[in-house]
Each structure stands twice: as C-alpha cells, then as structure tokens.
C-alpha cells in the first residue's frame, strides 16, 4: 500500500465519486457498505443540499464483505452506475454475498459478465486500496469518518455536526 505516514486529505479528483447539487457545500465521507452507521449517515446526508464525495474504507476484521462490496461499486462505476450500485448496497446490507452482487448488477441492467470480471480485477482493487491508503494517511480511524472544511469527524456525527451541516445546506450560495 506504500507510504502510510500522515498526509493531508487527498483533494477531490477525477477518480472520486461525487453527487449533490452543484455549488453546494462539500463533505468527504470514508465509509463501507457493511457498516450500518454509514448507511444511516448516507440516508441523512442525502436529505440535505450537500455535495457528497464517497471513498472506500473497508476493514476486514470489522466487516468481512466490505472490500468485495466496494469493488462491486467500482465495477458498476466502470459501466456508469456507481451511485445506483452504491444505493443498492446500502439499501440491503444483509445481502452482500456474490449472488446478491450479481442480482443487483442484473437489476441495474449492467453487463453481468463484464461486471463480474471487473469487480475481481486489478483496477477496482487498486481504486479501493488507494481510497483506503489516502484515508489512513489522513487519520481516518473508523467508518464512517466525515471531512468538512478539512476537519475530520470520526464515527457517527453528533447532533452539533448535523446542525452545522443543515445550516450549511440552507445557506445562500455565492
């Protein structure tokens, strides 16, 4: 994984997955698809006018299927369906085995053979590992971890942070 010493949060780049209203305040979320707190966070963020960058942070000991699920999301991204797969994974966290991943890919209308080859391939694994290494270097200790204005908030956001996010989301944009 290379150098894992402290480094600033990697800037949002071409490899990142971003959604939310153009020009809205931006948060970077490190999460994994097997983490219930991440699913809850996503749902609540989705209700706000916030731009969300999602990066993978799978940790085997806590969530054994998180890495495979992250690779599935990246394989869907190769067919332009990152967010639909992302939402489908968070929507049903009890079903993350291979047949469940194929089932999602089929429902999303993806090329199943390509999806399955991609999700086991080097490129998807490299993307997930790059996210993880960047997270480690930026001090991400657990999922979810959220960055707002370069500030790290590890674990479930408290109500003070939610209030801040809600205020930002309604603030007039300049």
């Amino acid at each position: 994984m290379g150098d894992l010493r402290s480094a600033p949060l990697p800037p949002v780049g071409e490899d990142d997955h971003v959604r939310g209203p153009e020009g809205a305040p931006l948060v970077v979320v490190y999460g994994d698809y097997e983490c219930p707190f991440c699913a809850a966070l996503e749902e609540r963020l989705h209700g706000l006018a916030i731009r969300v960058v999602f990066r993978h942070f799978p940790v085997k000991g806590s969530h054994p299927r998180a890495f495979a699920a992250a690779c599935a999301a990246e394989a869907a991204a190769a067919q332009g369906a990152f967010w639909p797969m992302h939402d489908a994974l968070f929507a049903d966290q009890g079903r993350l085995e291979d047949p469940h991943l194929w089932d999602r890919a089929e429902r999303l209308g993806l090329d199943l053979a390509r999806f399955d080859a991609d999700r086991r391939g080097e490129a998807c694994a490299a993307q997930v590992k790059a996210d993880f290494a960047g997270g480690i270097r930026a001090g991400v200790p657990t999922t979810p971890t959220l960055f707002l204005d370069g500030e790290r908030h590890a674990g479930r956001p408290d109500e003070a942070l939610w209030a801040r996010l809600a205020n930002l989301a309604v603030a007039p944009r300049v």
């Binding site: 894992l4 000991g61 657990t142």
Partner: protein, 152 residues
C-alpha cells in the same frame, strides 16, 4: 502521572498471557514492540481500533515493527474470545492482577480503573521510542500515527 515519555526505559512489569509464561520487560528486548492499551475488550471503539491495526499489520512490519500486543485489564479468557472474534493475530496481554498495575507503571491507567487509549513503541533496548495518549478513551488514534512514529 502521564504516559512514559520517549527516552525512558520501560519499567518492570508483568502481564498475563493466554498461553505460556507472563510477558515482562525482558520480552521487549531485541525487537521493536508496540503496546496498544485499550479500555475494554468488545467495546465498539476498541474493536474498530484493533481491526484497523490488523488491516495494516503487513505494512507496520514493513515499516520496522517486530511485535504488536493489545493490553487491557480484562481476563485472559475474555481477551482470547475477543481475539477470536476479531480474527486477529494480535496477541492480547492481561493486566488483571494486581489489576491495572502494569498500566499504572506505564502511566497509562485511566482514573476509571481501565487503560487509557494509549500507544507505546519500545526500541529493541526496551527504551520508550514514542508514546501517545488519546484525548479521551472514545477517540480512536489513526494508524498514520504509528507509521509517523516508526519513520521518526
């Protein structure tokens, strides 16, 4: 008393192991060792912390760490069950009797009677190379701190 500072030799201490002779100061000699003090086995934050360090164990070894142990005031049976649940090769050391004595010797005993969330790296000479205490037991130190310390 605060955590033992870099440059200080490790104090004498005894920690029980699930199998074999107790772990003492002599076990620190000859290799770079990290002790991860955590408040309680099975508590959610501790689970995350040890899982995270397990995930980067290979990289920690590449960075020069020879040995890594978890330390808590739980009994060896609880620690072993915790280790099995995490599926980690990180061995656990128990500060059960007299409770917290080793943690106290390292300056890592929380007033609540459990270890602070603390990290100590010892050089092969059993001298403290780096030490860290989290601002509160709920704060999880990222693995980047370990890589910084090992590079320093």
């Amino acid at each position: 008393m605060g955590i033992v500072e870099p440059g200080r030799p490790a104090p004498d201490f005894t920690l029980a192991r699930y199998e074999g002779e107790p772990f003492t100061r002599a076990d620190l000699e000859g290799r770079t060792t990290l002790l991860v003090f955590y408040p309680h086995a099975f508590s959610p934050v501790c689970t995350d912390q040890l899982s995270l360090y397990t995930e980067v164990l290979g990289e920690l070894r590449d960075a020069g760490l020879d040995a890594l142990y978890g330390v808590s005031c739980d009994s060896v049976w609880v620690q072993q069950a915790f280790r099995e649940q995490l599926g980690t090769e990180i061995e656990q050391l128990s500060d059960w009797e007299p409770k917290g004595a080793a943690c106290r010797a390292f300056g890592a005993l929380h007033p609540g009677g459990f270890p602070e969330r603390a990290l100590i790296i010892f050089g092969p000479d059993a001298v403290v190379r780096w030490s860290y205490v989290a601002p509160s037991p709920g704060d999880l130190p990222g693995a980047n701190l370990l890589f910084d310390a090992l590079a320093g």
